[in-house]
C-alpha cells in the first residue's frame, strides 16, 4: 500500500482572469505519506488544495484520487470520493451555531452509517485523541484559537478518512501550540495511517510532519525533495526562504 499513488495530479493549471496561479503542475502523493507544500503567500498553495478536493475547477489537467479522475465526476460521484477525504481549514471552519458535539456528529452521521450510541462514543473517543473531551458541550465562540484547531482536527478525523488536507494548520498559533498541533497531526497520521497534504509556512510544523516537501513558485513546483534536501539546498531563493523563516 505504501508505494501506491493515492493522489495523482497531471498538468494542472488554474488562473483567475489574467493571473496564472498554477501552471502545468504534476504531482504524485503516495498512500500514507505526509507531503508538505511550501511557498510564499499568494503562490497558489491553498488553490492547489481546493482544486484537489473539487472546491475549485481547474482550467486544465487531471486530478486522480484513488485512481478516479475527479474532473470527470458529477457532484454525486465526487461526494463518494469526498467521504474518504477530509479538510482542515485555516480557521478550522467550525459551525458557529452548533456545539462541539453537534459539529462532530454532523459530519459523522451524514457520512457513516452508525447508530446513536456509537455516535456518542465515537465523538468522545475522537475528542480524547485531541485532549479536549471536556469541550464537548462548548460552542465554538467559547474556544481559543488552538482549541478550535484541535476540534477542527477532531472533526476532520472522525470519519476515518484516508486522505486529509491541511490548510495552514498552525497559522495564528503561538509556537508551543503550533508544536503541539503539529505533533498531534503526526501522531494521528501514524496511528490512523492517513495520507496528508499540508500547506504551511511554518517550519516547525514541517519539521515535525513532513516525509516529503514541494515548493511552489510562479505557479510551478520549483523544488521538491525531503525537507532536509530543501533546507540544505544551495539555491539562493530557498536559502533566503528558510533562513528568514528560522529568524522569525
Amino acid at each position: 500500500m505504501a508505494n501506491v499513488n493515492i493522489i495523482q495530479i497531471e498538468n494542472l493549471s488554474k488562473a483567475f482572469g489574467d493571473l496564472v496561479i498554477l501552471d502545468n503542475i504534476s504531482l504524485d502523493v503516495k498512500a500514507g505519506e505526509n507531503l508538505v507544500v511550501f511557498g510564499r503567500s499568494g503562490t497558489g498553495k491553498s488553490v492547489l488544495l481546493k482544486c484537489i478536493i473539487g472546491l475549485l475547477k481547474p482550467d486544465n489537467g487531471n486530478i486522480y484520487i484513488k485512481e478516479q479522475n475527479i474532473i470527470d465526476l458529477n457532484l454525486k460521484e465526487l461526494n463518494k470520493i469526498r467521504k474518504h477525504t477530509s479538510f482542515l481549514f485555516q480557521g478550522a471552519a467550525l459551525y458557529d451555531s452548533m456545539t462541539v458535539r453537534e459539529n462532530l456528529a454532523f459530519h459523522l452521521t451524514r457520512n457513516v452509517e452508525i447508530n446513536a450510541d456509537e455516535v456518542e462514543k465515537k465523538i468522545l473517543d475522537t475528542l480524547d485523541l485531541v485532549s479536549l473531551k471536556e469541550a464537548v458541550d462548548k460552542m465554538p465562540s467559547e474556544l481559543s484559537g488552538g482549541m478550535k484547531k484541535r476540534i477542527g482536527l477532531a472533526r476532520s478525523i472522525i470519519t476515518d478518512p484516508e486522505v486529509i488536507f491541511y490548510d495552514e494548520p498552525t497559522t495564528g498559533l503561538d509556537p508551543i501550540s503550533s508544536k503541539e498541533i503539529s505533533e498531534l497531526i503526526r501522531d494521528l497520521q501514524k496511528e490512523l495511517n492517513m495520507t496528508s497534504i499540508i500547506v504551511t509556512h511554518d517550519l516547525i510544523c514541517a519539521n515535525i510532519i513532513s516525509d516529503r516537501a514541494i515548493f511552489l513558485r510562479d505557479g510551478k513546483i520549483a523544488y521538491k525533495g525531503t525537507l532536509d534536501e530543501l533546507k540544505t539546498s544551495k539555491d539562493k531563493f530557498l536559502i533566503d526562504f528558510f533562513s528568514k523563516d528560522l529568524i522569525n
Partner: protein, 267 residues
C-alpha cells in the same frame, strides 16, 4: 450551479453598476432554479425546516404584533374624519378591514419580515461563507445548498402567511379599539360590519401572495449571503443589500400579483 460574479468595490463605474444589475438578476434566477431542482430531492431536512420556522416566527413575532395592532388603529384614526366628511362613517369598519385584508396587512408584514429576516439570513450565510463553513460542508460531502438555503426558503415561505393572518387579525382589533375610543362602538356591530364586507375573493389572493413574499425574503437573503465575499465588509453588504433587494422585489411582485388577483377575482 454557476452564479455570475458581482463586482464588489467602491466607486463602481456606470458600466460596472449595469453589469452588477444583470448579474444579480441572472444570479437570483439561477439560485431560484437550483432551489426548485433541489426541493424534491432527499434528504428533506424536516428538523431544520421546523427549527427555522420556529426561530423566524419567534424573531418577528413581537414586532409584527405591535405593527399589526398599530396599522389598524392608525388607519381608522386617520380615515374617520375623511369618512365623516363624505358622510360615509357607517362604512368605516368594513372599509378599513378591507384595506387591511387586501393590501396593508400582507405588504407591511412582508416588508417588516424582509427587514428582520432577509438581513439575518444574509448575515448568517455571509458569515458562514467568509469563514469557510459552507466550503467545510461541501468538502465533507454534505450539500450546503440543501441544508442551508432550501430549508430557510421553505421556512420563510411557510411562516409569512401565518404571520400575515395574525397581523390582519390584530389590525382589525386595532381598528375596533380606535372606534371604541372615538365613538364607543359596539363590538357586535363592528364584527358584523367587518364580516359582511370581506368576501372570499378578498382573503384568498391576499394570503396567497404572502407565500410569494415569503419565498422572496428567503431566496434573496440566502442568495446575498451565499455569494458574499470580502470578509466582514462583505457580510455587512450582504445583510443590507438583502433587505433593500427583497423589499424592492416584494413591491414589484405585489403590483403584478394585485393585477392578476383583480383579473381572477374582479371587485
Amino acid at each position: 450551479m454557476k452564479i455570475p460574479h458581482i463586482i464588489n468595490k467602491r466607486n463602481k463605474t456606470n458600466v460596472e453598476k449595469l453589469y452588477n444589475f444583470f448579474a444579480t438578476v441572472t444570479g437570483l434566477s439561477v439560485f431560484s432554479w437550483e432551489f426548485f431542482k433541489q426541493l424534491f430531492i432527499p434528504p428533506y431536512e424536516i428538523a431544520q425546516i421546523k427549527k427555522h420556522m420556529t426561530e423566524l416566527g419567534m424573531k418577528t413575532f413581537p414586532i409584527v404584533s405591535i405593527t399589526g395592532f398599530l396599522i389598524g388603529f392608525v388607519l381608522v384614526m386617520q380615515s374617520e374624519p375623511v369618512f365623516i366628511r363624505f358622510g360615509a362613517s357607517d362604512f368605516l369598519p368594513g372599509a378599513s378591514a378591507l384595506s387591511v385584508v387586501r393590501e396593508l396587512g400582507p405588504i407591511i408584514t412582508a416588508l417588516i419580515f424582509a427587514g428582520r429576516v432577509s438581513s439575518g439570513i444574509g448575515a448568517e450565510l455571509g458569515s458562514m461563507r467568509v469563514t469557510e463553513q459552507i466550503d467545510a460542508m461541501e468538502v465533507s460531502a454534505i450539500n450546503p445548498f440543501k441544508y442551508l438555503v432550501v430549508t430557510r426558503v421553505i421556512a420563510t415561505t411557510m411562516i409569512l402567511p401565518i404571520l400575515s393572518i395574525y397581523v390582519i387579525f390584530l389590525a382589525v382589533i386595532g381598528g375596533y379599539i380606535a372606534l371604541v375610543i372615538s365613538q364607543g362602538m359596539n363590538f357586535e356591530y363592528y364584527k358584523n360590519a367587518v364580516i359582511a364586507s370581506i368576501e372570499f375573493g378578498d382573503l384568498i389572493p391576499s394570503i396567497a401572495k404572502t407565500f410569494v413574499f415569503g419565498y422572496i425574503v428567503g431566496i434573496v437573503g440566502s442568495y446575498k449571503g451565499y455569494i458574499a465575499d470580502g470578509g466582514t465588509e462583505g457580510v455587512g453588504l450582504a445583510s443590507t443589500t438583502a433587505v433593500v433587494l427583497a423589499s424592492l422585489i416584494i413591491l414589484l411582485f405585489d403590483t403584478v400579483l394585485v393585477k392578476i388577483s383583480l383579473f381572477i377575482w374582479p371587485m
